[in-house]
Subunit: 228 residues, 2 copies
DNA sequence: CGACGCATTGACAGGGCTCAATTTAAGTGG
DNA sequence: CCACTTAAATTGAGCCCTGTCAATGCGTCG
């Protein structure tokens, strides 16, 4: 866990020179999003692929009537809507800006040109897709095999690893997550999450502070998440 | 649903000429698997990427102590262990031959050479990874949002679409699946699957015949899977 | 024919979801 | 800065789905 909060290995532009990056960025269109703004909505025709430059996007998938699955949060350097490089697809998720967020977008045609000009891009996308695939396989298995409290612990740790920031001994997830969102991420209800976090707060493992969650004792959480 | 049972759009060699295909196949090593043989095991260092030529592989992920998640069955033209193109990975799943199965394998170095020589390969892999990612996202959501019986229906339909064969009015999944396997695919227990299939058999929606499952009334199943 | 694995069916219990009622916190306008 | 409004979080109680355990039935294969 480092000081900065962009601890991803999934940089879309990895392996490219400064000049190549500039060239690529030049043919994208920048989009500036206010907090809560929707970049694209599940079910719409997927026309563009986006790269997060600053801020954070929340990717969520909705089930008919109610329940939501929070797929993940993505930060700077990460790509979303890769599916748009395939023909005639719909966005499988909805992307919402968590805070003020800046992204760059490329339409299918342009992205295909870039991919054939810079093969690294295709490989980086593949890399990213494979990592997410593996993560999802694990989460699926956990959803079926483990009890809720254990899964809530895993969720917190995952989000912490992807977007945590060290602050003294503690690790703070520096954007607000509601119990509902953590529940959607875990595959449970806000009630269970609330009860669980209350219990952990009593034990001194976590703290909540103005919508943000602070992990006081990551080690205890890790132990708990691995075996109950 | 067509006559043949290779109704996948995920052909690894799509877009390549006969000569190119031959060239690619030439540098792979063929592996012949008996029914039940393990091609690679979860946790081992991922050294090779495999293409199914004939037969069928079952990909399953094991949870410490017991429970298993059946990720999917793959058939001719489909690739597995794409993760091996990344450095220092472990197989995230175990691959077992469902029947007699023939596969071709390439090690990381060779595959990387092929990918840079034939960019279509990288793109086809990306295509495949994205489709699987989307499918898994849906399954994850369903696992949380829907009741077991509905999910069992979806599982049967998914397997049917991926490996079904039309036989008169009925659709037969022409390799044996145990209740346990269907349960692992769905995220439930063999008991629940058994009860569910029994009920459907009474309704005339499905039939079991010497380990194989026959879908008598796909339409009824679809309706049931979409809204209870 | 016996044995083994797989499937079926019943009974039971418990994890966690649902619903409802409060409490707390956040946001807003005067 | 405070009263007011609204949203989010907490906590309790009850119940249902489905997982667990156990016993029995069935088919297949040596």
């Amino acid at each position: 866990m480092e000081e900065n909060n962009n601890n991803t290995n999934n940089d879309f532009l990895r392996g490219l020179s400064r000049e190549e990056r500039a060239e690529i960025m030049k043919c994208g269109t920048a989009v500036d999003l206010k907090r809560g703004a929707v970049l694209f909505r599940q079910g719409e025709p997927a026309t563009r692929t986006f790269l997060v430059l600053e801020g954070r996007l929340k990717l969520a998938k909705l089930h008919e009537e109610g329940k939501e699955f929070l797929v993940r949060y993505i930060g700077p350097g990460e790509l979303t809507s890769m599916i748009a490089v395939l023909q005639n697809r719909e966005y499988p998720v909805t992307a919402t800006a968590v805070g003020a967020t800046l992204v760059a977008g490329w339409d299918r045609k342009r992205m295909m040109e870039l991919m054939s000009e810079y093969p690294e891009l295709t490989f980086n996308m593949l890399h990213h897709a494979l990592e997410r695939l593996e993560e999802l396989q694990s989460r699926y298995l956990e959803l079926h095999a483990e009890q809720v409290e254990q899964r809530v612990a895993r969720s917190l740790l995952r989000i912490m690893r992807q977007s945590g920031r060290k602050s003294g001994d503690e690790i703070v997830i520096d954007f607000p997550i509601s119990r509902q969102e953590l529940a959607d991420y875990t595959g449970t209800t806000l009630y269970t999450v609330s009860r669980t976090l209350s219990a952990w707060e009593k034990k001194g493992w976590v703290r909540s502070q103005s919508g943000r969650i602070i992990i006081v004792d990551p080690h205890a959480l890790v132990l708990f998440s691995e075996k109950i």
